[in-house]
Structure formats: C-alpha cells, structure tokens
Amino acid sequence: MTYAKLTSAACPAHKEPMRGFAAMAIRGAMLAVGAVALGGCITVNAPSEPIVIELNINITQEVIYRLAEDAGQTIEDNADIF
C-alpha cells in the first residue's frame, strides 16, 4: 500500500501572465521608464567657472565698522606687508 499522493512533489506554482487593464498599465509604465532611461539621459554640465563658496557672507556690517579703526592701524603698523 503506497500513498503516492503524500510523498510526491506538489505541483509547481502556476504562472499566468497578467491580463486586463492593470497589466496594460504596468507594461506601458515599464516601457516608458525604459525609453526615458535609454533616450532621455540627463546631462549635467560642470560650470566653467570654479564654484566659490562665500564664507564671508555672514559677516555683518556692524562687525566690520567696529573693527575698521583697529584694522586701519594694523595696516599702518605693518606697512611692509600691506
């Protein structure tokens, strides 16, 4: 007495292509993505001028005015390097 049914491998999962509107929509979307990836390359051109990050942008006019007198004296005291 054998119970072949109990030991034999189960049927593999059945694959069936999607049908209907959803399938069409997904296929269309994939195609569109593929087309963009192939043809619509986004090109980024490096700027010809070097990118300068202005670190002094946050210095306020108030600070500059406060330091101006001392800085003027410093320039006069170090005339060899100014």
């Binding site: 210095i59 500059i64 101006a68 001392d70 800085a71 005339a79």
Partner: protein
C-alpha cells in the same frame, strides 16, 4: 660778514636735509620689499576682498613665493588682532581687505565684490557694500 651768514644758512640747510633724510630712512625700511612694491605697481598682484594678496597674472614660482610669504604674515597679524578685538580671523581679515582695497593707488589691482580683478583708477574702488 655777508658770506659768513650765507655759509651758516647753507650749513644749516644741509644739516636740516641730513636730519630729514635720517628721519625718512626708518620709514623706508618699514615699507614694502622692492620685489613686492614692483609686483603691486605692475599689476601682477592685487588686493583680494578677503584681506589677502592675490596673483593677477599667470603665476610664477617667484610670485607664488612672494604672495604666500606676505599672506602668511598677514594671517598672523590678523589672528593676533582679531583675538585682541574679540572677532574672528575672517571678520578681521575682511575688514582689513575693505581698507586695503580703499588704499590702493591708481594702476594697482584689486578684486571687486564679484571676484573679478579690477585696475584701480582715480575713481573709488568697487567694494563690498558692507565696507566702511
């Protein structure tokens, strides 16, 4: 008598000239190195907005050495004075840059706020609106 007076005047003015000369000497010694003075006058170097010296023309090793030497010394002075004034190095350097650009003389080069090199004319230099 007249000739004696003339002699005394001549001697006096000669002495005055000598003392003027000796007074002028230290001022000259404190001034710019001739190579630096020449590079400024030729427009090879210019004053940058950040308070340091920049090379305007295509750089040579001699110019690079000159500018680097002066900028190292400027930075040391800025750092010392900034600390004394309770400011940051950049704040002090930018302020000094404002003033250094204002003190350029016609023919010298300076950096405009947009980063371009400009030759100083008799007109006021183009400076950052925050400059005093």
């Amino acid at each position: 008598m007249n000739t004696k007076l003339i002699r005394r005047i001549a001697l006096g003015s000669a002495l005055a000239a000598m003392s003027l000369g000796s007074l002028a000497m230290p001022a000259h010694a404190q001034g710019r190195d001739p190579a630096y003075a020449a590079a400024r006058a030729n427009g090879q170097v210019g004053e940058k907005t950040d308070g340091y010296l920049g090379i305007v023309v295509s750089p040579t090793p001699a110019l690079e050495a000159l500018v680097s030497d002066i900028n190292i010394r400027r930075r040391a002075v800025y750092a010392e004075r900034a600390q004394a004034e309770g400011a940051t190095l950049e704040e002090y350097a930018l302020t000094a840059g404002c003033l250094a650009i204002a003190r350029t003389v016609p023919g010298e080069m300076y950096q405009a706020p947009d980063g371009s090199w400009q030759e100083r004319t008799s007109a006021p230099p183009l400076r950052d609106p925050r400059c005093p």
